[in-house]
Symmetry: C2
Subunit: 187 residues, 2 copies
């Protein structure tokens, strides 16, 4: 599993830097210090590598967020935890986050759309569903709230990386942004 991860890490760096088709498989292998043939032992095609990398990153992010979620109660604090964890992860793993976005907005996304389990399984999605049920959150479609929630995260992430703030200022802003979001979606 060692080599596979090295290849994935090399691919991530190059895809983010040069785009999917702007990165030759041979270049990825070189960056990972393996032969071209080795890459194709682990991934049958380039597309399989691209999709596998996407799924791997998605899982890493999910694990990180769930790890940090202390309480499993349906409360404002749980929402805050998901919000803050997601942002922390996205800021500590900028290339990973960038890759997710690059993939989401590329034609490859439709490859995954049917295959992968949809939003319905994400922790945030489930929490919102429950939040609406117990009337903690506005009575609106779950995936609508979900879209706004993630959009807020995207917007804030973009702002922070565009104007690199001091650590403390950053945390303050994340907290403020969450309160604004909460005011928007609470019932």
């Amino acid at each position: 599993m060692e080599k596979k991860d090295i290849i994935l890490a090399a691919a991530l760096r190059l895809f983010v830097e040069n785009g999917f088709h702007g990165t030759a498989t041979a270049r990825i292998a070189q960056e990972a210090n393996v032969a071209t043939g080795t890459l194709f032992n682990y991934f049958r095609t380039k597309e399989e590598l691209i999709v596998a990398l996407y799924c791997t990153i998605l899982k890493e992010m999910d694990d990180f967020i769930l790890e940090r979620l202390e309480s499993h109660s349906i409360s404002k604090e749980s929402f805050r935890s998901l919000f803050v964890s997601t942002l922390s992860w996205s800021l500590e793993n900028r290339d990973h986050y960038r890759y997710l976005q690059q993939f989401d907005h590329s034609p490859y996304f439709k490859v995954v759309e049917e295959t992968i389990a949809g939003q319905e399984e994400y922790p945030l999605f489930v929490l919102i569903k429950n939040g609406i049920d117990i009337v903690l959150i506005k009575q609106l479609p779950v995936s609508f709230i979900y879209s706004l929630f993630t959009a807020q995260i995207n917007g804030l992430h973009y702002y922070i990386i565009s104007n690199d703030l001091r650590e403390d200022k950053e945390l303050e802003l994340i907290s403020e942004a969450f309160e604004m979001l909460w005011k928007m979606i609470e019932d």
Copy 2:
């Protein structure tokens, strides 16, 4: 200017469908019913075509939004107009909007970042700046509010195209989403 626009339109369709490098210049020329050489008469390189298409679409969107902005007062209604116009345009020109997003999240974006006039010139950005000055909007960095505003538009756009709603339901939701956004950013 006729041929140039035909080429741009063909490029848009193919880039959205197959990605930047997934689309050969010869294929674009074919789709536009011109010779390969003709394409390179209008655009010196493929990258120039990609960037020109981005700028063209951005301008089209801006023109549409400004056309619809009746009052130039700094008021909630002006914000609503920008919000609704942007969403209307994005829903009536899905490929165009998709292209903008694909470009924004691709490595090509950095090519444009320094070249093109930044956010500071966009009508929405100016309006927010003024809105903050007259204390209509929360006293926070302009580009922070700007990021959240556009993020809300992205999130709503994504929700609407993912669950294609009836026309009336769609307008209702846009209106509701704006009120939520307003509650979030008003002072």
